[in-house]
Symmetry: C2
Subunit: 223 residues, 2 copies
């Protein structure tokens, strides 16, 4: 799916509008005209319409029939809720990953953690964000559940901006890698209960860190 979002025109339009909303370029309450947005992106109404309809399903815009699309951005409460929901579901994902992970996936997970530790020293923050994303995405995949993967990927996308600011903090990044390592070890030891608990706590800690640094700022336009 992600791949298609990159190559097709509609996919690019979807991503750009979504990013526009998540980054605050389009603020909550803004009305998105099909023609206007189309001109902005250099395309006609059709791809824009399709993208807006998809964003409606995601909840990022509200479509009022015969009227238009209204931006329904993400508030700071939404972000907080998502982290809490994720703390539950990442626990389940870690549990299922423990039960279903393949040798190959386990190796990849180890590689990611190693790379993270390496980058930690070099303070490559953008790399850290990427590796953090890959770690979680791989656990979702290893859970071997389309449904769980689907919902977690969606949520992950929503909090993309919040996430970037969290990992950027060096102190938090260090702890985060340590937590990832512990989760990895629990998975490798086939200790599903522990993996679930660790993953659960990991997200709660990220959330706590976000709260401390005041995630309101990130979404000041929407919240």
């Amino acid at each position: 799916m992600k791949e298609q979002e990159d190559q097709s025109l509609r996919g690019r339009v979807l991503q750009q509008i979504r990013d526009g909303i998540l980054s605050g370029k389009y603020a909550t309450g803004d009305e998105l005209r099909e023609i206007t947005v189309g001109k902005e992106l250099g395309v006609s109404r059709t791809p824009v319409r399709e993208a807006l309809r998809q964003l409606e399903l995601e909840g990022l815009v509200e479509i009022i029939p015969n009227k238009g699309a209204r931006v329904n951005g993400i508030t700071s409460k939404d972000v907080k809720d998502i982290y809490m929901i994720r703390s539950y579901l990442e626990g389940l994902a870690a549990r299922w990953a423990t039960e279903n992970i393949t040798e190959e996936e386990l190796n990849e997970l180890e590689e990611i953690v190693l790379l993270s530790e390496f980058n930690l020293r070099k303070e490559q923050q953008d790399q850290m964000v990427l590796l953090d994303g890959r770690f979680h995405a791989l656990i979702y995949k290893a859970s071997n559940s389309r449904m769980l993967d689907h919902v977690l990927v969606d949520f992950h996308r929503y909090v993309k901006h919040a996430r970037a600011s969290s990992v950027a903090e060096k102190d938090r990044a260090k702890k985060s890698v340590r937590e990832h390592k512990a989760i990895l070890e629990a998975i490798r030891d086939h200790d599903a209960d522990l993996a679930e608990q660790l993953a659960n706590e990991h997200i709660l800690r990220v959330m706590e860190n976000l709260r401390r640094q005041g995630y309101e700022e990130i979404n000041k336009d929407n919240g």
Copy 2:
């Protein structure tokens, strides 16, 4: 959103295709041609395209660029996974509902439980399905979390067919109402821990019941 699905042409098309997939009319692997589907429903390509793009986001179809839309039905494993995911999230929903429910919502919840007990005696099974749906939907809403509500409503829709067969079983329906009542009481008593635990167990029991009666049959076309 639901309202708009009913009134707009695109919304109706979306619902019809989705129902077609969930009911097994369109089986996994089927290719949905825009023109063909359009003719079936008496509309042009445009609304069909928009609906298919939305279903892609839901994961019910896979869109292969320049090729078409392939049905990606729900397997029995998906249903099982959804119930497990829901058991986690309904617990959270009940917890948050306990903390945020309004007097009005509490009254409505009580009314639903009362009606359920009444219908139980009259053995009105379709009414029971409706009331069960309303009970859960109301808890989602009372949780006062857009995000949680959104994801749970989506999942609920996915397992619609499995749900109908579960509540249809009289014995299970009786127990289900009893469990709903217990959850309601925990919410009324502001006992969030208990509400969470009860809601969690409630879904697990529904799942267990589904397993016993062999939910494979319901999705024989897809699983």
